[in-house]
Amino acid sequence: MNNVSEISKIRRRVFTEVARLHWQGKLSEEIDSLPEKLVEQHQQRYRCCEYKEKAIYAERIKLAMGLSLTAENHKKPLGTLTEKALKFANDTKSQIEVIDIACEQCPINKFFVTNACRNCLVHSCLQSCPRGAISIVQNQAYIDQNRCVECGLCKKSCRYGAILEIHRPCEQACGVKAIKSGEDRKAVIDHTKCVDCGTCVISCPFGALSDRSQLLKVITLLKSKSRVIALVAPSIIGQFGQKEDPRSIFAALEQLGFAKTVEVAVGADIIAIAEGEEYLKRVPGEIPFLTSSCCPAFVKVVKDNFKDLEKNISSCVSPMAATASMLKERDPEVKTVFIGPCMAKKREALEAGCIDAVLTYEELAALFVAAGINVSGIETMNEDEVQASAHGQGFASSGGVTQALLASLPEEKRSHVKPLKAEGLLECTQVLGKLAKGEITATFLEGMGCQGGCLGGPGVLVDSRLTKKFLHIRGSKQGMISCLENSRAREIISRHPHYLHRNNDKESGDV
């Protein structure tokens, strides 16, 4: 059900070791020997030779240090790059990169005749092909790839199942068609289309795609004198194996050096109420439907591909940004680290400005291990504090935003809402397309970049089917159900702080 693949293990080892070196203050001295150490650790050889293996590790280490795989960084030994890495410059907003040498140049031809072809007398493949792309060569069907239009009729027609349909896993996973095969058939990301959702990262069986990590930045912050607050996404429940109880995770965060842990579900409560108010104000008078704005990948898909629908995106910031701004309003000196399942949040954080760093659960666990903190070994005495409502926590799961929004509306208005949800960017794109053309109607669209919502994000540690249960149990146990019951959230809403709404002027012009 869960399946931590060998590729995940490699990623996680790299995170752990890079974090460990910086945690122990040995980054620049020992980073150069890390690829070797990692190759030794992983006795299984995954590729042709040790030399290549080391080179791939070096690239993974650069990404784990937050560096881009630019030609310039490519040539340099790791040790000479640590100084640059510790400046946290962020040359680019894009988070996902291709590790060129790790890409195995999967075939691009979609239909492929296997040896199961018996050169039968019927030749139904030949008959079925509308383009005459199939001929018989050396006793086997042969597809002329220049003529093939990938209709798939030959595959359907063959009674031996001898024709195989193959996809490049990265291309297939990408919901916005941002991955192409470049020269020499290696994967290339079109960064004008990519929304950093990270689906390709977990789809490539060779681990050739990865995001840049902010582990070093978080460690530097934790070691500094600053007061650093952990903003944890609601999907954290159950990620470390303690069922519905996050107290030991919060205690572990404290051991790591965070001054305190704030649940982003608090921000979700605030946003659910604000979005409800916006809905009543704008739908259906001004716009026929409103869309959620919590998922940065979804928001970017709308902005990049459906210009006409941009006005339909809720003007509310994400719960992450709302929570961070709330904290910074109270104390501008405070540093905020968002911890969640999401890679796209890394980009959102750069643009929003109120978040100092972002970690995925995967990266956080690696950091715990690096610092010698074992969540399972921590006993906690205090109560599981109620910070947010069950609906606010429910933002993590697909359908949850809709539920929270509905609950925030006056009862008599709820039946007027015609909700629709889309999960996964492919579905989001399809649904948006249909809405734009008027083929379907709705008054509220919940858009989630990942299957199952945030619980299905690329940075999770536990399968969403399990964590969904735990999220639900905790929410109902804590007893605060609707966001309207959250007096803290209502107090903030009543002050109408400017930070709850996106400043669109500021954002335009961003690439």
Binding site: N3, Q43, I373, N374, S376, L461
Partner: protein, 85 residues
Amino acid sequence: MEKIAVEICVGTSCHLYGALDLAQVLEEVNMKYPERLEIISRTCLGNCDKGPNVRLAGKLLERITPEELRNIIIQLVQKKEKENE
């Protein structure tokens, strides 16, 4: 019949490297051969760098994959069964 002790580490390090997948294997084997295993969760087996770890009948299995674990356990269960016949 004496049960086989299976200690599974659920510490953060082993968790990060797939302890949950191993736990699932144990559950499966437990369903298939009820009453043979005594499954014990441990918070750390003191071998974090080489996780995920399982201690099977006193023997430490490090960097174990779910497939390997399934094979080893089933073999052991079947061997015990033969001995008892």
